[in-house]
C-alpha cells in the first residue's frame, strides 16, 4: 500500500469540479471551454487508472478528509470494486465527451443538438457527482454525490428547454427528488438508530440492532436505491425521460446513472446488510425486471425507447447476480456492470448516429442503412450482439457467470431465474434483430415514409452524404467504445479474476473495514465478521468456489489445477473422466477465466 497515492483519491472528485468552475468562467469561449473539459477529463482518467493499478495490488484504501478519524470525519474509500467502476465510468464519459465535441463541431445547422455553453461544465459536474458516489465512505456523502450528479442530470436532460424535454424532464426531476427524499429519510432513521452514518461503522453497528429494525432500514435503503437503479416496479420513469435528451446525454445517463444505483445496492447488500434476508425478494424483483423490461422493449417502435427498455431489463441481471450471495454470482455481476455501462452507452451513441444519418429513430421509417453506411452497420451490430449475449462477447460471459451462480444455488427460485435470464436474453436478441432487420437490411424504399435523407439517387450520393452526416469526429469515439467493449471480451480472464477478488473483498468485508476504521477496531469483531462471511458461497475456499457448492456439474464451470489435485488425492481417480470431459468441452474463455480467478482467490486467502 502506498499512502501517498491514496491521498490522491479526493482529486477524482475535485478535478472535475475545478474544471467545471473554469468551464463556467469561460462560457463565452467555446474553444477554451472544450479544451478545459477535455483536459480535465483526461487527467481524471489517468488519475483513476493509477488508482486502479494501486488498488489492484494493494486492496482497499481510505482517506480521512481533514485528518478526522473514521467515524467522526468524512472518509473516502476506494476498493477494487469502486476503482473498477471509477475507471470504466470515466473512460465512458471521456469517449462520450469526444462524441459530443464532434457533434457540436459538426451540427451547427441543427439547432437543438449542439451543446450550449453550459453543456461542458454541467457534464463535468455530473462526472464529479458520479465519482463522489463511487468513493463515498459514508451514507450522507453518498447522498450528496447522488444529488450532485442528479442535479447536473436535470440540467442536461432539459438542455435547450424544448417542449418535449421539459415534459419528460419534469417527470424525471419529480421522481428523482422523491427517491432522494426517501434516501434522506432513511439516513435520518439510520442515524437515529445507530448514531453514525459512516458506512464502515454502520456495518458493525447495524448488526447489533434487532431484526425488525434491520429489515425496515434494509428495505428503505433498497427502495431508495431501487428507484435510482430502475428496478422493476420503480422503473417506469426511465423509458419516458431518457429518449428525449440529446444523444450523448442519453448515452451517458443510460451507462452511468442507473449503475450508481446498482453500485449502492451492492454496497448495501455486501457491506451494510450481508446475509440472505431479502435475497428471495430480490430475485423475484430481478425476474420481473428482466421480463417486464424486455416485453416493454418488444412493444416499442422507436430505437431509443427500445434501448431504454432493454436497459431496465438488463438491470434485472445485475440484481439477479448480486442476490445470489455467492462469489461466482457477485464477480459475474461486477464484470457485467462494467460490460453493461460500456455497451449501453455505445448503443445509444450509435442510435444518435442512426438518427443523424436518417433523420429519425422510428424503426418503421428506417431502412437500407447497411448499404448506405457499412461502418454504421458494424458499429451497431457488434454492441447489439454483445448486449444480446451471443457467445464470444462479454455479455455472454457475464450472463454465463450469473447462470453458473444460479445453478450452484440450486433452489427453485434460482432455477426460475436461470430460465428467465435465458428467455430475456433471447427476447433481447429478438428486439435487436428487429431493429437490425428493418433499419439495416431492408431497402430504404420498403420503409414506411422514409426520410429523404435515406433516399439518395445512387450509392455514390449516399456515401457523399455520409461524410456530412457521419463525421469522423463522431464515429471515431463510438468506434473506440465498441473497441473497449470488445476488450472486455479479449481480457475477460484478468478482468474476471479481478472482479472475483473484488467480490471476495466485499463479502469478506474486513479489507474495507480495516482501511476505514483501522485494524485494532476490526480485530475486536473479526470472529463475528468471519461467521457472517461464512454464509457466502465460495468465499475463501481458494478452489474457485463453484465445485464445492455446485451440486450440478456443467461443462463450463471453472476448474483449477489445485482443486483437481486435491480431488485426485481425496477420492482416487474417481472423477478423472468427469473433470477431463469438463476441461475438454469447457468454453475456452469461461474455464480459463475461472482458473485465473481461482488462482487469484487462492493467492488472496493465503
Amino acid at each position: 500500500m502506498d499512502g501517498d497515492l491514496a491521498s490522491l483519491i479526493p482529486l477524482a472528485v475535485l478535478l472535475p469540479v475545478l474544471g467545471a468552475g473554469f468551464g463556467f468562467a469561460f462560457y463565452r469561449q467555446q474553444t477554451t471551454q472544450r479544451a478545459v473539459t477535455l483536459g480535465t477529463l483526461t487527467l481524471t482518467v489517468v488519475l483513476e487508472i493509477v488508482l486502479l493499478a494501486d488498488v489492484w495490488q494493494g486492496g482497499a484504501q481510505a482517506v480521512h478528509l481533514a485528518g478526522w478519524p473514521a467515524p467522526f470525519g468524512i472518509a473516502m474509500v476506494i476498493d477494487r470494486f469502486s476503482a473498477l467502476m471509477l475507471v470504466v465510468s470515466s473512460i465512458i464519459t471521456l469517449a462520450v465527451l469526444l462524441y459530443a465535441v464532434g457533434q457540436g463541431a459538426a451540427a451547427e445547422e441543427r439547432r437543438d443538438d449542439g451543446p450550449v455553453s453550459i453543456f461542458y461544465p454541467t457534464y463535468l459536474i455530473l462526472v464529479a457527482g458520479v465519482s463522489n458516489a463511487f468513493l463515498a465512505g459514508d451514507l450522507f456523502n453518498l447522498y450528496v454525490g447522488f444529488e450532485i450528479f442528479l442535479t447536473a442530470s436535470y440540467v442536461l436532460l432539459t438542455l435547450g428547454g424544448g417542449e418535449a424535454r421539459i415534459r419528460a424532464g419534469v417527470t424525471y426531476v419529480v421522481v428523482s427528488i422523491v427517491s432522494s427524499l426517501l434516501f434522506l429519510i432513511t439516513i435520518g432513521v439510520i442515524y437515529a438508530a445507530t448514531g453514525t452514518v459512516n458506512l464502515a461503522d454502520l456495518a458493525l453497528a447495524l448488526g447489533e440492532l434487532d431484526r425488525g429494525m434491520q429489515l425496515l432500514l434494509h428495505v428503505m435503503l433498497l427502495v431508495g436505491f431501487g428507484i435510482k437503479a430502475a428496478v422493476f416496479p420503480l422503473a417506469f420513469w426511465l423509458p419516458d425521460s431518457y429518449p428525449t435528451a440529446p444523444a450523448p446525454v442519453t448515452a451517458v445517463f443510460a451507462g452511468l446513472l442507473t449503475k450508481v444505483g446498482i453500485y449502492s445496492i451492492i454496497r448495501t447488500e455486501t457491506l451494510l446488510f450481508p446475509g440472505e434476508r431479502l435475497n428471495t425478494a430480490l430475485m423475484i424483483v430481478a425476474l420481473l425486471t428482466m421480463l417486464v423490461g424486455i416485453l416493454g422493449a418488444l412493444a416499442q417502435s422507436d430505437v431509443k425507447r427500445m434501448l431504454s427498455f432493454t436497459l431496465t431489463s438488463h438491470i434485472g441481471y445485475l440484481v439477479f447476480g448480486l442476490s445470489l450471495l455467492s462469489i461466482t454470482g457477485m464477480s459475474a455481476t461486477i464484470y457485467y456492470v462494467a460490460h453493461h455501462i460500456t455497451i449501453q452507452t455505445t448503443l445509444f451513441l450509435v442510435t444518435g448516429l442512426i438518427e443523424r444519418r436518417s433523420g429519425t429513430s422510428a424503426v418503421d421509417r428506417l431502412g437500407g442503412l447497411a448499404k448506405i453506411s457499412p461502418v454504421l452497420a458494424v458499429l451497431f451490430f457488434l454492441p447489439a450482439m454483445n448486449l444480446a449475449g451471443i457467445p464470444p462477447f462479454s455479455g455472454f460471459i457475464g450472463k454465463l457467470g450469473m447462470i453458473q451462480g444460479g445453478v450452484a444455488e440450486n433452489t427453485a427460485i434460482a432455477w426460475t431465474l436461470v430460465v428467465g435470464s435465458v428467455v430475456t436474453s433471447l427476447l433481447t436478441l429478438l428486439a435487436l434483430a428487429r431493429i437490425w432487420a428493418r433499419a439495416f437490411w431492408r431497402r430504404a424504399e420498403d420503409a414506411d415514409d422514409p426520410d429523404p435523407l435515406l433516399m439518395s439517387k445512387t450509392l455514390a450520393h449516399a456515401r457523399a452524404a455520409n461524410k456530412r452526416l457521419l463525421p469522423t469526429s463522431m464515429t471515431v469515439p463510438t468506434a473506440l467504445l465498441v473497441g473497449l467493449s470488445l476488450a472486455f471480451t479479449v481480457f475477460a480472464g484478468p478482468l474476471l479474476s479481478f472482479s472475483r477478488a473484488a467480490a471476495q473483498d466485499m463479502y469478506e468485508r474486513t479489507p474495507y473495514l480495516e482501511a476505514v476504521l483501522g485494524e485494532e477496531r476490526v480485530d475486536g469483531v473479526r470472529a463475528e465478521l468471519r461467521e457472517l462471511a461464512a454464509q457466502v458461497d465460495g468465499l475463501e475456499t481458494g478452489d474457485g468456489g463453484a465445485e464445492e457448492h455446485a451440486p450440478v456439474h456443467t461443462s463450463v464451470e471453472p476448474r483449477d489445477a489445485e482443486q483437481l489435485e486435491s480431488d485426485d488425492a481425496a477420492d482416487g481417480h474417481a472423477d478423472d473422466a468427469a473433470s477431463g470431459a469438463g476441461d475438454g468441452a469447457g468454453d475456452g474463455a469461461g474455464s480459463g477465466a475461472g482458473d485465473d480467478a481461482g488462482d487469484e482467490a487462492g493467492g488472496e486467502s493465503r
Partner: protein
C-alpha cells in the same frame, strides 16, 4: 432517545399534506408537496439529535450529557441547501412548461399513447403467409372475394397481366378490396395504423408484387 412530541406531530402533518399534494396532477402542487416533504425530512433529521441541549463546545464544567449532538444539524444544513436548489430548479421548469405549453400539469407521454394505440398484432410479422384457400371449398360465385381467390389460383399472374380475368379482378381489387384484402394477403407493410395504408392505396400492393 427523547423526542419532542410537537416536532414529531408537525413532521407527520408535513409528510401527510406533502404526500397528498404530490399525488396531484398540477405541477405547482407537486412542487409544494415536495417542499413540505423536504421540510418534514429536515425535522426528522433534527430530531435524531435527541433532546435539546447545550452547544457542543467544551467549556469547563458542562458535561457531554447536556450537549446537543451537532451532526444532524450539519446534515440538515446540507439538506436545506440542496432542497432549496432543487425547488428553484423545479420552479424554473414549471415556468418553462407554462410558457411553452400553457400547461401546469404532468403531461401524458405521447409515445406511450402511440404504442398503446397500435394494433395487437404486427401485420408485418404475419405477412407472407398466403390466405388459406382450398379448391374443395364451396364456391360462391356471388362472392367477389372467392372469385378473386379462384382467379389467382388458376392464374398466378392475375393482377399483373392484363388478361380479362386479371383486369376485372384488378378493378374489383381497386374498387372493393384494396386496403384490407390484398394488403393483408400479400404485401402487408410495416404500417401499424391502417389509416396510412388507406391513404396510399397503391403503395403496399405494388411492393407485394415486386417481391
Amino acid at each position: 432517545m427523547t423526542i419532542n412530541l410537537t416536532l414529531l406531530v408537525l413532521m407527520g402533518a408535513l409528510f401527510a399534506v406533502g404526500v397528498h399534494l404530490l399525488l396531484e396532477r398540477s405541477l405547482t402542487r407537486v412542487l409544494l408537496g415536495i417542499i413540505l416533504i423536504s421540510n418534514g425530512v429536515n425535522l426528522l433529521m433534527l430530531q435524531t439529535a435527541g433532546r435539546a441541549g447545550l452547544a457542543p463546545i467544551v467549556r469547563g464544567d458542562a458535561g457531554f450529557e447536556d450537549m446537543l449532538d451537532p451532526l444532524p444539524q450539519a446534515l440538515v444544513l446540507t439538506a436545506i441547501v440542496i432542497s432549496f436548489a432543487l425547488t428553484s430548479l423545479m420552479l424554473a421548469l414549471i415556468y418553462r412548461s407554462w410558457a411553452l405549453a400553457r400547461q401546469d400539469e404532468v403531461a401524458d407521454d405521447e409515445e406511450d399513447r402511440r404504442v398503446a394505440a397500435q394494433p395487437v398484432h404486427d401485420p408485418e410479422e404475419d405477412s407472407d403467409v398466403p390466405a388459406e384457400t382450398s379448391e374443395f371449398s364451396e364456391a360462391d360465385p356471388a362472392d367477389p372475394h372467392q372469385a378473386r381467390q379462384r382467379g389467382r389460383l388458376l392464374n398466378p399472374q392475375a393482377g399483373r397481366d392484363a388478361t380479362a380475368g386479371g383486369a376485372v379482378e384488378d378493378q374489383l381489387r381497386r374498387g372493393l378490396h384494396e386496403p384490407d384484402d390484398d394488403a393483408g394477403a400479400r404485401g402487408r407493410a410495416a404500417e401499424p395504423d391502417a389509416g396510412s395504408a388507406d391513404g396510399s392505396s397503391d403503395g403496399p400492393p405494388r411492393r407485394g408484387r415486386r417481391r
